[in-house]
Amino acid sequence: MPLVAGEALPGERQQELRNLLIQDCGSCHGLTMRGGLGPALLPEILQGKSRDYLTTVILEGRPGTAMPGWRPLLSEDEARWMADRLLQGDLGQEGRQ
């Protein structure tokens, strides 16, 4: 088992990514990931979706839908780190209600 992705990311960047996840992904998917214009992204809903698949969707978007590719703003490591947060339902303090 390799290191958990994101352990290499500096803490400050992790804070920025967490903010991005909650506030900007949350604009469409809901601050608590229960969905909005975009689908819900709760761990139980993502079950069966692999980390690689989610990472690809984050980076490339989903053509034909409103989901944009975030590659201009995120590295692969960063996207993988965000996929892990979603899979683990780990949005951090701010995402909890």
């Binding site: 909005g36 978007g61 590719g69 975030w70």
Partner: protein, 390 residues
């Protein structure tokens, strides 16, 4: 003796209480603090925060409308919560979880009905503004399988109407609530792929939906409904590669100056200028990023624009006579919303990632006030109470 002293004290307290309570509400407003499930109540005469109301649920993308007496705010939360807040007393009067997931609402012409547009289950629910009792439930069903569409762009219109669009169904519906017991629905189908937001002109005549799935916009003339929905600007952007859209533009706040209207282009660094007599493109203004809100100062002389990621730290101001960008401001990261004071001498900005609300003078472009707010998003002033479509 002791009892008398207590009575006197009570009288004193009651006296000071009622004196403080007597004030108008025309200079009040609210700021959504979306991460805290709270709102701040603010006043625009001295630019201060005067209170906070908590426990309002998931307020991502929350918006608000006002009762016609401008005392009560109806707040529409993402979690389907409909909250009625007394902005004079700073109290939550009532709160109802009316759906699983919702996106905004409107108040009727006579102020008696509040309608909410819902993603899940897709449709519109109409409530009694006084009691929040359900008056009408309008499922947004479409197609042979009667599936339900997410509803966006809900506005009020003259004639006790609500107008809204169906994201999944490519339809616009006009809901006539003249007789609340028998709602009338007029449907317009095939209006264009994925309407993502809509607006109504300040006179309540034209309803215009932006389309995410294709170029152009859908226009409905409510004075001539039999003419149907007309597509405008169909040639705009044809064949051009769009940029990734990190945030859906908003069409709230129709920016009108004379015969010209200003709207955000989807996936482009441009503000579109539309001639409202011909409904033809009258120009494109190159701007700093992908526009989100394009809002006119109440006198129409300036248009203020904010942007999607990664340019959401910037504001640009367009002069509506020259159609040129005359000012660029950098209030800080995450400028999410703007609200002009009723006559436009100052504008309030929510700067989400800096946890501040800033107030700028619109003539000097100087920052005149700054106040803390936790992840502020929408700002809504009570002057909206008397404006069609807001």
């Amino acid at each position: 003796m002791k009892r008398l002293a207590i009575c006197l004290l009570l009288v004193l307290f009651a006296g000071s209480g009622s004196a403080a309570a007597l004030r108008g509400s025309g200079d009040l407003g609210l700021v959504i603090e979306r991460a805290d499930s709270s709102i701040q109540i603010v006043e625009t005469s001295g630019n201060t925060s005067i209170g906070r109301v908590d426990q309002l649920g998931d307020l991502s993308h929350a918006s608000a409308v006002y009762s016609r007496d401008a005392r009560y705010a109806y707040i529409f939360g993402r979690d389907g919560g409909l909250s009625k807040v007394d902005i004079l007393s700073g109290e939550l009067v009532q709160r109802k979880l009316q759906a699983g997931n919702s996106i905004g609402g409107a108040i009727s012409q006579d102020g008696r009905l509040v309608a909410v547009s819902n993603y899940k289950p897709g449709g519109v629910k109409v409530f009694d503004a006084a009691t929040l009792e359900l008056v009408a439930d309008i499922p947004a069903t479409f197609g042979a399988s009667q599936q339900r569409s997410k509803v966006i762009g809900l506005v009020d219109a003259p004639g006790h109407k609500f107008v809204f669009a169906l994201w999944d169904a490519d339809e616009i519906w006009v809901l006539d609530m003249s007789d609340p017991a028998n709602p009338g629905i007029t449907k317009f189908t095939g209006i264009g792929r994925n309407p993502y937001d809509a607006l109504i002109t300040p006179d309540g005549r034209y309803y215009i939906a932006g389309l995410f799935g294709e170029d152009g916009m859908a226009l409905l003339d409510l004075w001539n409904m039999q003419a149907g929905v007309q597509r405008i600007l169909p040639q705009y952007g044809k064949g051009e590669q769009k940029l990734p859209v990190y945030k859906m533009p908003h069409l709230e706040g129709w920016a009108v100056a004379g015969d010209l209207a200003f709207v955000p282009a989807v996936g482009r660094h441009e503000v579109l200028v539309i001639n409202m007599r011909s409904w033809q493109e009258a120009g494109r203004i190159e701007v700093h990023g992908q526009p989100i809100f394009v809002m006119a100062r109440p006198d129409g002389r300036q248009v203020w624009v904010n942007f999607a990621l990664p340019d959401n730290d910037t504001i640009q101001v367009i002069d509506t006579q020259s159609l040129a960008v005359i000012k660029q401001l950098n209030p800080g990261k995450g400028v999410l919303h703007m609200e002009f004071e009723p006559r436009g001498e100052e504008v309030w900005l929510s700067v989400r990632d800096e946890n501040r609300v800033e107030v700028y003078d619109t003539a000097s472009f100087e920052r005149v006030s700054s106040m803390p707010a936790n992840k502020p998003s929408g700002i809504f002033f009570s002057a909206r109470a008397h404006r069609i479509g807001l």
